[in-house]
């Protein structure tokens, strides 16, 4: 799976980091999402799907 994030939409809720800490982080300064892995392995797919659903700003999408 490939994913991308839209920093313009992100509001720094951090839900993604809780759901998939190996894939998402938050920038120290502005709280915006940082994508650590654009093509997370299948083993992390459940966490990533959950992050996409939980993000209240809908800032994470599949990139296909």
């Amino acid at each position: 799976m490939r994913i991308k994030v839209d920093v313009e939409k992100c509001i720094g809720a951090g839900q993604c980091v809780n759901a998939a800490p190996a894939v998402f982080a938050q920038n120290e300064d502005d709280g915006m999402v940082v994508l650590l892995n654009q093509a997370p392995p299948e083993s992390m797919a459940a966490g990533v799907r959950s992050a996409i659903r939980l993000c209240p700003a809908r800032a994470i999408v599949f990139d296909d």
């Binding site: 509001i11 720094g12 809720a13 659903r53 700003a57």
Partner: protein
């Protein structure tokens, strides 16, 4: 912790969803039942006035999780309403059939929109709280291409913004003389008004005597002292009332919310209240408050889940909120609800990027940021740690850090 009767959560909204998820992720392996009375799996509300209305998200996208998720984590979703609670026998009676006993009960019943009186059943008068409401609003908006919104709070303005971007003719009628007057500073109100007007939204501010006109069961227009407009679609965004009847009938204390202590417990220690329905002592505001935000629902759910697995701590999260209008991102941290004695605005009105810093007794209590996420994060850090910042210290705080 393993218990016999288990946990019953009333309400499958943001708070109820988060509670069951937090319990499982904190290792709770007992029984969890989630009572959800809407005809959808638990879903997000914020996109209803944003991406969903624009047509950029489907019904299915809004769900927090799919049915497999609940099955795999052993959470039972019961599509029914809680009709009554007996705190003595620790049972909840369901509306359709049966009852559930509980070790702990979490009330996450949310809030419902206030209605304009005397207009029940009039077609074209809509409200926006649920996915069903959003479906109706979107269908009618696409059909009429015209909407009148009563109330210039966050919700009304988000809908105004999206509707204008969809090409609809939009008019917003508000009693107060400015936008979001309850919690936004005048500078922020002004910026949003200008940007929304530039996108075609028309405002009727300081309007009193607002009255919805109808004929033959269909909305025909809106009238106020000083003007009137014809329309087939009116959205009333005039605030919410917390769903407290269930708690009140069970003998719990309610007053604009289900009253709790600093641990979010009601007077019955096995019963908690969280999210939009709960009124609790907020340490940052120094008073009892009832907040309506994703942050509040999520953090309260996490706090109660921790207490249930044995790590009770007073609820102390810093309130924050966001809204999206006219292509701008508004983020609010702390308390900006009008009790500040001094507001300092920093930024660039023309560029649409500014922050308003609210001080009470010369101590920073809240910050609104428009397209300035760094200020928002800084505000969250300062306010969370209860650092004392005076207005005089602000310039230094905002100065860019020297290059390393």
């Amino acid at each position: 912790m393993s218990t016999s009767a288990g946990i019953v959560v009333v309400g499958g909204g943001q708070a109820g969803f988060q509670l069951q998820q937090a319990l499982r992720s904190q290792g709770f392996d007992g029984r969890i039942s989630l009572l959800a009375d809407e005809p959808f799996l638990p879903y997000q509300r914020p996109p209803l006035s944003k991406a969903y209305l624009k047509g950029e998200a489907t019904d299915d996208d809004l769900a927090f999780a799919t049915a497999d998720f609940y099955r795999d984590s052993g959470v039972e979703i019961i599509e029914d309403r809680a009709a009554a609670i007996d705190p003595r026998t620790k049972t909840v009676t369901l509306s359709r059939a049966g009852s559930l006993s509980f070790d702990r009960l979490i009330l996450a019943t949310g809030a419902r929109n206030r209605r304009l009186p005397g207009l029940e059943g009039v077609h074209g008068l809509v409200s926006l709280r649920t996915l069903a409401n959003a479906q109706e609003l979107r269908d009618r908006l696409l059909a009429t291409g015209d909407i009148v919104i009563i109330g210039a709070g966050y919700l009304g303005l988000e809908v105004a913004s999206v509707s204008a971007d969809m090409g609809a003719s939009v008019r917003v009628i508000e009693m107060a003389p400015r936008l979001m007057s309850r919690s936004a500073s005048p500078a922020v109100s002004r910026l949003f008004q200008e940007r929304l007007e530039a996108r075609g939204v028309r405002f009727e501010l300081a309007s009193s005597g607002v009255r919805v006109l109808h004929h033959g069961g269909q909305v025909t227009g809106v009238e106020w002292n000083g003007g009137s407009v014809r329309t087939k679609l009116v959205l009333a965004c005039i605030g919410v009332d917390p769903n407290t009847e269930l708690a009140r009938d069970a003998g719990l204390d309610v007053a604009n919310g289900i009253l709790t202590d600093g641990y979010l417990r009601t007077a019955v220690p096995e019963i908690y209240a969280i999210g939009d329905c709960a009124a609790y002592p907020n340490i940052h505001f120094g008073q009892t408050v009832r907040l309506e935000s994703v942050q509040n629902a999520v953090d309260q759910a996490n706090c109660v889940a921790a207490a249930i697995v044995g790590e009770a701590r007073p609820y102390a999260s810093l309130p924050w909120f966001w809204s999206e209008q006219a292509g701008m991102k508004l983020q609010i941290a702390g308390n900006t609800t009008g009790q500040a004695q001094e507001i300092v605005v920093d930024g660039d009105h023309q560029a649409g990027a500014l922050s308003a810093f609210h001080f009470r007794d010369d101590v920073l209590v809240g910050v609104e940021s428009v397209n300035r996420p760094k200020d928002h994060m800084l505000a969250r850090k300062i306010l969370r740690s209860r650092q004392v910042i005076s207005a005089a210290m602000l310039p230094q705080l905002l100065a860019p850090a020297p290059a390393a």
